[in-house]
């Protein structure tokens, strides 16, 4: 009984956490280059709707992923153009990406569907990623849940160590961190600040699109309005929680995936707590995480935010 409960909690945690890890790792890279991307919510929504529509018509979930990556990249390229080239305010640019992305995702969701459903995508059933049980390993009590996931979750196991290694152990990772800490010095060292910022903003957008695709193709297959439910925003908080370290991205995802799992179990067990209050938990937890991290930062001086985060770089300004 307790074993099956733990297994199910761990399993839901992993499934719910996957999209968060993708987007968090992506945003860590973007912010490490000095660009704050508040457009994640819009990028995840667009990734989700386009991935589902593509998979629905082509029958290929893989193609859905490719489209989600491309859509995330395009939206991120707009953000990079506005903030890097045009030096627009990063907060407002990110907000407008989110407003535009959620509006367009809603539009597409009512336009890309089949004629029989009045062009609505909502309610359609399409192909989805199914869990792949790894022989032997998936039989282990409780921890077996780690090995009966869909392919995108398995990829997370690879992504996180790779992202950590690249950032801290390679030349390119060092350059990226230099740009986010001090673009003037990085420029003087011969690193192309503009190129670096474009590159990692687009990379972050691709991962956000992928996170969105995991929602519509694996976690809750299908499309509904506002499918992400604020996950794109929670990710911004998770980046702070992870202290801009990709290895710690997994912790935040476990925390928030875990909240989803607990919510789900409490509801399934039958409770007198109104569902709306349970649904508030992730949002209240985000606020709590922010308060704790800010307090911690005040104590230990610095938790790792790139020093140039949010600042446009202009050579002429010296």
């Amino acid at each position: 009984m307790i074993i099956s409960l733990l297994t199910s909690v761990l399993s839901i945690t992993l499934r719910a956490g996957t999209s968060l890890v993708y987007a968090t790792v992506g945003e860590i890279y973007t912010e490490r280059s000095g660009i704050l991307n508040l457009g994640l919510e819009g990028m995840m929504l667009m990734g989700a709707v386009t991935a589902f529509a593509t998979a629905y018509y082509s029958g290929s979930v893989g193609l859905g992923l490719v489209v989600a990556l491309a859509v995330g990249a395009m939206l991120a390229a707009i953000h990079a153009f506005l903030t890097v080239t045009m030096r627009a305010n990063q907060v407002v640019s990110g907000l407008s990406i989110t407003l535009f992305g959620s509006g367009l995702a809603s539009f597409l969701g009512q336009r890309l569907g089949p004629v029989s459903n009045n062009y609505y995508l909502v309610g359609m059933v399409g192909p989805k990623f199914t869990p792949i049980r790894i022989p032997w390993l998936s039989k282990i009590p409780v921890l077996g849940a780690l090995f009966s996931q869909d392919i995108l979750t398995y990829l997370v196991y690879l992504l996180v160590p790779l992202a950590w290694f690249y950032l801290y152990k390679t030349r390119e990772g060092l350059n990226l961190r230099a740009v986010g800490e001090n673009p003037q010095t990085a420029d003087a060292m011969g690193i192309n600040v503009t190129r670096t910022r474009y590159l990692y903003t687009v990379f972050g957008g691709m991962l956000a699109g992928l996170g969105g695709a995991h929602l519509s193709l694996a976690y809750t297959p299908g499309w509904t309005e506002n499918l992400t439910g604020g996950r794109g925003w929670i990710v911004i908080a998770l980046v702070i929680f992870a202290m801009w370290n990709p290895a710690r991205a997994i912790l935040g995802a476990i925390l928030f995936g875990g909240i989803n799992a607990v919510q789900f179990r409490i509801q399934a067990a039958g409770t007198t707590i109104p569902a709306e209050f349970l649904n508030m938990l992730p949002y209240l937890l985000t606020i709590l995480v922010l308060i704790v991290m800010t307090w911690w930062e005040a104590l230990s001086k610095r938790i790792g935010a790139p020093a140039a985060l949010g600042n446009a770089y202009m050579r002429e300004d010296k």
């Binding site: 627009a88 907060v91 407002v92 992305g101 922010l290 800010t294 002429e316």
Partner: protein, 368 residues
């Protein structure tokens, strides 16, 4: 020869007016491309949108109905944005304002004189909105907690709380399961312009915009807010209380959004129900930024954005296009706007390589 950006001595006034206008036109152009791709005639669509929003007195009044909450939340958001406090919680502040007004309307009736009920409901809405914005303001001012995320997260909490009320304890027992409270007593209905749904909130918005313009541009407090937004270090040297001002400004900001919510429930739905806010609090961000945080400009931009919302509904009814067309157009306005803002602060200059005499370059080479 190369192109460089040169910082202007002062912000270009011409660019300040030109950039939003051009941005709107660019957004229509981009929207036309989207319409063409999705198989609709852009000219017909835009004509239908224009007719549906400005075509008749009634249509225009419906545009105003959508514009009123955008004006109030837009004003609220601009105050916060002036201090570079990114309040994206207007949606939640509006929702709680509606909840508080509904609470007074439903549960205070009969306990206070009837003529006091409406003013009290509106006041309650403003207080609730102010407190809801006060929480992230306090966290930011005294603990340094990032406000973008806290204001946004509180939106979800407020919306879920309102849902809990109209699905649960406040649900109308005679409502056949409809998610909403019972209709308010007519003494709490906000007066409407005869024959339309446009309500007194419009007058509130105009008066408040004028008052805010005065406060922000002609009083010491307005000046203090401006300094805090532009240069916190300078503000500190001038002895301006930053934390106190952040909290005060945000209480005001939230009160305006709360007022929007109170006006919505007492003026439009006359009950608390599902769909109290249709994203007004988010569109308010576009309104504030496009109006360049000028309270008077907020009024006009809000009408334009209201028109895009009503226009979206119109093309859904007449042409079967999704109503979110309006949201897409709104979302696209800020891109050219942001790109163009560079030109209000910088100017492009083409630099020709200076004529260097060969001798000088030789010395440089020799030195290196």
């Amino acid at each position: 020869m190369r192109i460089i950006f040169e910082k202007r001595q002062s912000i270009s006034r011409r660019a300040m007016v030109l950039v939003p206008v051009v941005s709107f036109l660019v957004s229509l152009l981009l929207g036309a491309i989207l319409l063409l791709i999705s198989g609709a005639n852009p000219f017909e669509t835009y004509a239908a949108m224009a007719r549906g929003t400005f075509g008749s007195t009634y249509n225009f009044s419906e545009t105003l109905v959508k514009a009123i909450p955008l004006m109030l939340t837009g004003l609220g958001v601009s105050i916060a944005f002036r201090m570079r406090f990114w309040n994206i919680g207007a949606e939640g502040q509006l929702t709680l304002g509606g909840v508080a007004a509904a609470w007074v309307a439903l549960y205070w009736a009969g306990r206070v004189p009837a003529f006091l009920l409406l003013p009290l409901a509106i006041l309650a809405g403003m207080v609730a909105g102010a407190l809801w914005a006060g929480v992230p303001a306090f966290l930011k001012a005294y603990l340094g907690v990032d406000e973008t995320l806290t204001t946004l997260m509180l939106n979800y909490v407020a919306i879920l709380f309102a849902a809990h009320l109209y699905y649960g304890p406040w649900r109308d027992p005679q409502g056949y399961g409809f998610p909403g409270t019972a209709q308010f007593d007519p003494s709490v209905w906000l007066p409407r312009l005869v024959g339309t749904r446009a309500h007194l909130g419009l007058i509130f918005a105009i008066v408040l915009a004028l008052a805010l313009w005065f406060v922000l541009n002609r009083t010491r407090w307005g000046f203090e807010l401006k300094i805090i937004g532009e240069n916190q270090v300078a503000a500190r040297y001038l002895g301006i209380g930053i934390a106190r001002n952040i909290v005060l400004a945000l209480l005001l900001s939230g009160a305006l959004s709360g007022l929007a919510g109170a006006c919505e429930v007492t003026g439009i739905s006359r009950r608390l129900q599902q769909g109290l806010s249709i994203g007004y609090g988010y569109t308010a961000i576009i309104v504030a930024w496009m109006a360049q945080l000028n309270p008077i400009a907020v009024l006009f931009v809000a009408i334009l954005m209201g028109a895009l919302l009503v226009g979206g509904d119109q093309v859904q009814m007449t042409m079967g296009l999704p109503a979110s067309m309006g949201l897409v157009l709104q979302g696209m306005i800020l891109f050219p706007m942001l790109a163009g803002s560079l030109f209000t602060e910088y100017r492009l200059r083409i630099v020709r390589p200076e004529k260097t005499d060969p001798l000088a370059s030789e010395t440089v080479e020799a030195a290196s």
